[in-house]
Every structure is written in structure tokens, then in C-alpha cells.
């Protein structure tokens, strides 16, 4: 017997293989005023042209435009791993002259995804739950302002408890290095002042090497990420081709860490924290939503299940959201109760039969 090697160290490999087979799905939302380079950045991040057929509306069309939510799906495969990426776009945000409450459709959308998941989770067939919850929201801040604008603050406060927020400064090539640092500091201060909870990148394990820890600390310091996006490759004589933007005074290189934080963002979002974002969405944000939901239903006071179900049926129109799953759960419980009772009855019958046969056996044996 080989006492030294049991073999469950191979467990991660098994998980790894299973998840590769299953594939990953990830929903990313991008929000912010138009013209901050959101689409270009997404195309740069995932090296796809997701916005090919996009029609930019003119200003006159935008006068009466309300915020719409657009979803685009794309399947990306790399190294044998498939990722089903869903992008949620919010065109029209911050465009109108009057932007009051323009964030409400976004909040509604995020909550609807939670609602859908809650329903699916409480349903009968849970094998193939589609997770359409928003795992991460990249919020674009203008490099031209002096920090967060009133609209930014209002949006962030409305969604920070419902989705992981990663703040990003778009079109960061508008800023000189000193200006970038000052703007980042201002935004960080404002976020603290307004008590907005952005996604906290988790601390790296204590057993990681110094180099990794230093890199990690640097990355955390550079939040909000100042990014520049580009899908064009600049081929200048004498230099190697780079992805960037060519100006008369020089070329901004997207993947140069001295020019912008694109690499940091890509590393943190895609390479190291994709899974964590999903987990935080599920364990923290979704659970919070679920708790709030169920609490708000339990509050109308009724204790026993029967009256609660009666309440639910009577007041379906008044109390919003998952009345339906609760009624279903109730039904399930009752069904199970029924089954249990029947099984108990059968057991008793069988026990009685056994006793009878035993008694009969004894009688015949006595004769």
C-alpha cells in the first residue's frame, strides 16, 4: 500500500478539465457618456470588432432619445478554452439635456437579471441555469472633467451595491502624466467621500513571491485605470508595429505601461480576476439581493405557511417580484409533505403486515 501518495492532489486538474468542457460565461456591462472610447476599448480588450454595424445617432436624434440597453454576445476561444462573453451597452446614457433618473433603466436591468436567476434557482429544473447576471460594470469617467461629475456620482450610487464596478478613465491620452495622477487621486477621494463601493481586488496570498506582490500592489494603486483603446496597428519606419494611435507629435502605444493602464486592466479583468468577479457577484451581490427580496416578503407578518400562501395569491398584484417562486416552493413543500405522509402510511402498513405474519408464524409454530 502506497501510504505516501493518495492522489487527491489531482483534484484541481479534474475541476479544470470539467470547467473547460463546460466553458465560461461572463457578462460585462460598459457604461458612461458617449464619446469616451468605450466601444474602442472593448474591441481592444477582446480583439474583436463587436461594434461593426453600429450606427452613431446624430445630435438631433439624441434630443429625444431615452436610454436603451443593448446586449451583444460573442464567443471567444483561446488555448482550448471557450468564453461566452455577453456585452451590455447603455447607449444614450448621459446624452440628453436632462439626464435625471437616466440610470433607472440600468438598475432595473441588473435587478431583472437577479430576479431571473432567483426564479431559476427556486425552480424545478436547475440543471441548466443560464447565468445572465451582470458580473462586472466598467464605468467610464471623462478625462476632461475635474473628477466625478454629478451624473457619475448618481449612477454609481444607484448601482454600487448591485454590480461590481471598475472605474476607468477613458481617452486617457488627453492627459499628461501629472494630470493623470491628480485626476486619479481626485476620483479616489470622491469615491471615498460619497461612500461608493467599487470592486475590491482581493489581496494576493501571503505565499506569493515578492515580485507578484509588488505587481499586485502597483495595479491596485492605478485604480481608476487610465486607458486608451485602439484596434489599429501603427507601422512606422524603424520601429516595430504596435497597436496605438498615431498623432503628429508621436504615437500612443496601447500596450505600453508608461503610456496607459490598458495592460493592467486587461490583466486584472481577464487574466486574473474573471472568476473572482463571478464569485463576488454570486456570493455577495446576488445574495444581498436575494436576502433583501425575501425579507421584504417576510415582513407582511404572516407566520404559518398556509396563510402566507393565501397572502401571496391575494396580493400578487401589490407585492412585486418573486411571489411566483415562493408559491412554487410552497407547492413543492406541500407535495413533499404529502409524499412523506404516504410513505409513512405505507411503512406502517408494511410493519403491521410483518407483525401479522410473524404472529401467524408463531401461531402455526405453536400448533
Amino acid at each position: 500500500m502506497d501510504k505516501e501518495y493518495v492522489g487527491f492532489a489531482a483534484l484541481p486538474n479534474q475541476l479544470h478539465r470539467k470547467s473547460i468542457k463546460k466553458g465560461f460565461d461572463f457578462t460585462l456591462m460598459v457604461a458612461g457618456e458617449s464619446g469616451l472610447g468605450k466601444s474602442t476599448l472593448i474591441n481592444s480588450l477582446f480583439l474583436t470588432n463587436l461594434y461593426e454595424d453600429r450606427q452613431l445617432p446624430e445630435a438631433s436624434a439624441r434630443l429625444t432619445q431615452t436610454l436603451t440597453i443593448e446586449r451583444r454576445g460573442v464567443e471567444i476561444e483561446e488555448g482550448g478554452i471557450k468564453v461566452k462573453l455577453t456585452l451590455v451597452d447603455t447607449p444614450g446614457f448621459g446624452d440628453s439635456v436632462d439626464c435625471s433618473d437616466c440610470w433607472l433603466p440600468v438598475v432595473r436591468f441588473i435587478e431583472e437579471q437577479f430576479e431571473q436567476y432567483l426564479r431559476d434557482e427556486s425552480g424545478l429544473n436547475r440543471k441548466n441555469i443560464q447565468d445572465s447576471r451582470v458580473h462586472c460594470c466598467l464605468y467610464f469617467i471623462s478625462p476632461f472633467g475635474r473628477g466625478l461629475r454629478p451624473l457619475d456620482v448618481a449612477f454609481l450610487r444607484a448601482v454600487h451595491e448591485k454590480v461590481n464596478i471598475i472605474p476607468v478613465i477613458g481617452k486617457a491620452d488627453a492627459l499628461m502624466p501629472r494630470e493623470t495622477q491628480a485626476l486619479k487621486q481626485k476620483i479616489r477621494d470622491q469615491l471615498k467621500e460619497e461612500e461608493i463601493n467599487i470592486y475590491q481586488f482581493p489581496d494576493c496570498d501571503s505565499d506569493e513571491d515578492e515580485d507578484f506582490k509588488r505587481q499586485d500592489a502597483e495595479m491596485k494603486e492605478s485604480i481608476p485605470f487610465a486607458v486608451v483603446g485602439s484596434c489599429e496597428v501603427v507601422r512606422d519606419k524603424g520601429t516595430r508595429p504596435v497597436r496605438g494611435r498615431r498623432y503628429s507629435w508621436g504615437t500612443v502605444e496601447v500596450e505600453n505601461p508608461h503610456h496607459c493602464d490598458f495592460l493592467n486592466l486587461r490583466r486584472m479583468l481577464v487574466q486574473t480576476h474573471l472568476q473572482d468577479l463571478k464569485e463576488v457577484t454570486h456570493d455577495l451581490l446576488y445574495e444581498g439581493y436575494r436576502a433583501r427580496c425575501l425579507q421584504s416578503l417576510a415582513r407582511p407578518g404572516a407566520r404559518d405557511r398556509a396563510s402566507r400562501s393565501k397572502l401571496s395569491r391575494r396580493s400578487t398584484t401589490e407585492i412585486p417580484l418573486p411571489m411566483l417562486p415562493l408559491a412554487e416552493t410552497e407547492k413543492l413543500i406541500r407535495e413533499k409533505d404529502e409524499e412523506l405522509r404516504r410513505m409513512q402510511e405505507m411503512l406502517e402498513k408494511m410493519q403491521a403486515q410483518v407483525q401479522q405474519s410473524q404472529a401467524q408464524g408463531e401461531q402455526s409454530a405453536a400448533l
Partner: protein, 405 residues
């Protein structure tokens, strides 16, 4: 020598002693002007003064006006008979020198307003235009600086002197414009301010005993800052320009243009021009006020390259051995006055070196007149005792009054 902005070049009309051959151009001006053919000197043009006492009007105008910013060469010394029979040298062309002397003594004033969302570099641009700290930057990263809840109007005056010419420059800032969540009607305080200045001038004008030189606080030029989104104009931009283009000279500029590549810049400009045209918004120089063919061709060229994509800076860096105003980034230094980098130099020449006087004239002869006509038609506000409008002034010609809608 360093701080030449160029408004002293309105003076470079050759006096009677200069030979005909000398180039009449001021140095460093008019990057897009072509040499006009020699013409006899003309008295300063006014945009067709309509109503009012003609004599006092031109007198008042003369003390304020400066001879044409586009100087024309003098008539050659030897009289050549053209239409009139000049039997000798009279000396009417010395009028230009006389006016020059007068205006140098009195100086002139210029009021420029800047409008746009916070952070678009308005103050920096004005400081760069006039090469002095005329606009106090909402000191960038000051934590106490809060965005005002309603649009405020802040007017700060400075006196700048160059080449013996004094200019009283007033910069009117509009903090809070477009910064709120709900920006409905945020242009109203601005419209109100502009009309108030017209009202002030009107009141002074209709006084029985009026000042020799009415202080001019009217807004001569409004620089509107467009955010460089690269897409199109925002609804707020359209609304503002729609309401105010009939009341004041609006010059749209694309702010912080160092985020756009050359192709993006030209596409954006084209789109902006098209949108403005579709909505019937006329920015300065307005097509309808072009007086002659020469004006039209010159202004057409300018209109085709507007809105100017500008970059402002108050810091100097060393480039090729020279100190230039610019912005230093890890990928290069953006030079503010380099035409390959941005169009700041075009804007500066346009506003200061060639069209400064025209801006004032259009404000006085057109926008102010429109306001005045409307006020006199309404006949409200001014009590009958004051001004004696009905009896002294000839009846106002029934011109249609375009309202600021």
C-alpha cells in the same frame, strides 16, 4: 519681444510717407489671407447703419472704431487720375494716421465670453490667447471647488498693452454650464446677461446728456467649447447655439483636441458643420453679413475650417532649442502654436489679428441693433419722459426682428 499676441497689428496701415511698394502686411498675421490688390484708401466701413442720428452715430463710432484691420496700400505719390481729377496731393489718406493716433490714446475694449462644460480648458485657452493670466483657472484639483448649482456669470477685466496700444479685455466666464444632471435651460442666465449689456448700452444711448464714450460691456464674442467626443454635437450644444447664435457672435471651438487624430478631427468637424447647417445655426462669421465678394471668399475659407480644433497650455517646454508652449506626454510634445499639431494659431489670428474689429462691428451694428429695434417696438421699460423717443428719433424702419429662438 516675447509676448506678442498681435492686436497691435490693427495699426499697420502705412502712413502718407510710405512708398507704395512696401508690403502692407503686419508680420505674423493673417495666415490664410491672400494679398489684396492695391486699392485707394477707404474710410472705415460700417455695416449699413440703419436708424438713429447719423452724425452722432458715426462720431461715436469713429472714436471707437479702428481703421480696417486689413490694411490697403496707399495711393502712389504721383497722382494717377482714376475717376476724380486729382490735380495735386490733397492728403485725405492721412485720416488713417489721425484715427490711429486718436485710438492709441483712448485704447479700446473687447469683451469675450467663454462657455462650455467644466474641465474643457476654457480658462487655459483664454490665457494662451492673450498670453497672460487673464482668466483664473478654477485651480484644477482643489477639493473645495464645487460645481455651482446654477450657471454663474463672472466677468473679470484686465488691461493689456502692446506696441503702445491699450486694450481693456474683459473675460466673461460661465461656470456651471452643462455640469448638472438636469441642464434644462441652463443657457438662460447667459442670454439674460447678454441682453442686460445691450440694455445698459441702450439706456446710455438714449440719455439726453450722454457720455462722450459709452462704456461698452456688450459681449463681442462668445467662444463655445465643444467636447471632443468624435461622434457629433451633443443635444446641449445644439440647444445653446440655437438660442444664442441670433443674439451674440458664437465661435465654436473643439476643446482639448489632442485626443483626436487628423482623420478623426476632419470627420468630426465635417459632421459638426453639417449638423449646424441642418439646424440653421449660423456661427461667426455669418454668411448673411458678408459684404462683398472679397469678404465672402475670405470668410468662406475660414468657415470651411471651423470649428477650430485647439489645444491650450500655459507651460513652456524646450523643443529643438526653442521654448514653446505645449503639453508634454510620454509619447511626444504637443506644441500649441504648431499648425501641424493643432489650430490654435488659426483661432488666435482669426479672433485677434484679423477679425477683432469686425466682431465688435457686427455686435454693434447687427446684434445690438436687433435688440434695440425690438425694444423700441415694444416700447416697454423706458418711461416716456426719458429719451423722448417719439419726437427726437425718426421712426424705426419696420425691419423684421429676429427673435432669439
Amino acid at each position: 519681444m516675447g509676448k506678442r499676441t498681435g492686436f497691435s497689428c490693427v495699426w499697420r496701415c502705412p502712413g502718407p510717407a510710405s512708398p507704395a511698394g512696401r508690403a502692407p502686411f503686419p508680420t505674423g498675421a493673417g495666415l490664410f489671407l491672400s494679398l489684396p490688390s492695391p486699392l485707394p484708401p477707404t474710410i472705415p466701413r460700417t455695416h449699413g447703419a440703419t436708424s438713429g442720428l447719423p452724425e452722432t452715430r458715426t462720431d461715436a463710432a469713429m472714436s471707437e472704431l479702428v481703421p480696417e484691420p486689413r490694411p490697403k496700400p496707399a495711393v502712389p505719390m504721383k497722382p494717377v487720375s482714376i475717376n476724380t481729377n486729382l490735380l495735386g496731393y490733397i492728403g485725405i489718406d492721412t485720416i488713417i494716421e489721425q484715427m490711429r493716433k486718436k485710438t492709441m490714446k483712448t485704447g479700446f475694449d473687447f469683451n469675450i465670453m467663454v462657455v462650455g462644460q467644466s474641465g474643457l480648458g476654457k480658462s487655459t485657452l483664454v490665457n494662451t490667447l492673450f498670453k497672460s493670466q487673464v482668466s483664473r483657472k478654477a485651480s484644477s484639483w482643489n477639493r473645495e471647488e464645487k460645481i455651482p448649482k446654477t450657471v454663474e456669470i463672472k466677468a473679470i477685466g484686465h488691461v493689456i498693452e502692446e506696441g503702445g496700444v491699450k486694450m481693456k479685455l474683459t473675460v466673461i466666464d460661465t461656470p456651471g454650464f452643462g455640469d448638472q444632471i438636469n441642464n434644462e435651460n441652463c443657457w438662460e442666465p447667459i442670454e439674460k446677461y447678454i441682453n442686460e449689456q445691450y440694455e445698459k448700452f441702450l439706456k446710455e444711448e438714449v440719455n439726453i446728456a450722454r457720455k462722450k464714450r459709452i462704456p461698452d460691456t456688450r459681449v463681442h464674442c462668445c467662444l463655445y467649447f465643444i467636447s471632443p467626443t468624435g461622434h457629433s454635437l451633443r443635444p446641449l450644444d445644439l440647444e445653446f447655439m440655437k438660442h444664442l447664435s441670433k443674439v451674440v457672435n458664437i465661435i465654436p471651438v473643439i476643446a482639448k483636441a489632442d485626443t483626436m487624430t487628423l482623420e478623426e478631427k476632419s470627420e468630426f468637424k465635417q459632421r459638426v458643420r453639417k449638423e449646424l447647417e441642418v439646424h440653421g445655426i449660423e456661427f461667426y462669421p455669418q454668411k448673411e453679413f458678408d459684404e462683398d465678394l472679397e469678404d465672402k471668399t475670405e470668410n468662406d475659407k475660414i468657415r470651411e475650417s471651423m470649428p477650430f480644433a485647439v489645444v491650450g497650455s500655459d507651460k513652456e517646454y524646450q523643443v529643438n532649442g526653442k521654448r514653446v508652449l505645449g503639453r508634454k506626454t510620454p509619447w511626444g510634445i504637443i506644441e500649441v502654436e504648431n499648425l501641424h499639431h493643432c489650430e490654435f494659431a488659426l483661432l488666435r489670428d482669426f479672433v485677434i489679428r484679423t477679425h477683432l474689429q469686425d466682431l465688435k462691428e457686427v455686435t454693434h451694428n447687427i446684434h445690438y441693433e436687433t435688440y434695440r429695434a425690438k425694444r423700441l417696438n415694444d416700447n416697454g421699460g423706458l418711461p416716456p419722459g426719458e429719451g423722448l423717443l417719439g419726437s427726437v428719433l425718426p421712426p424705426v424702419p419696420a425691419t423684421p426682428c429676429p427673435t432669439a429662438e
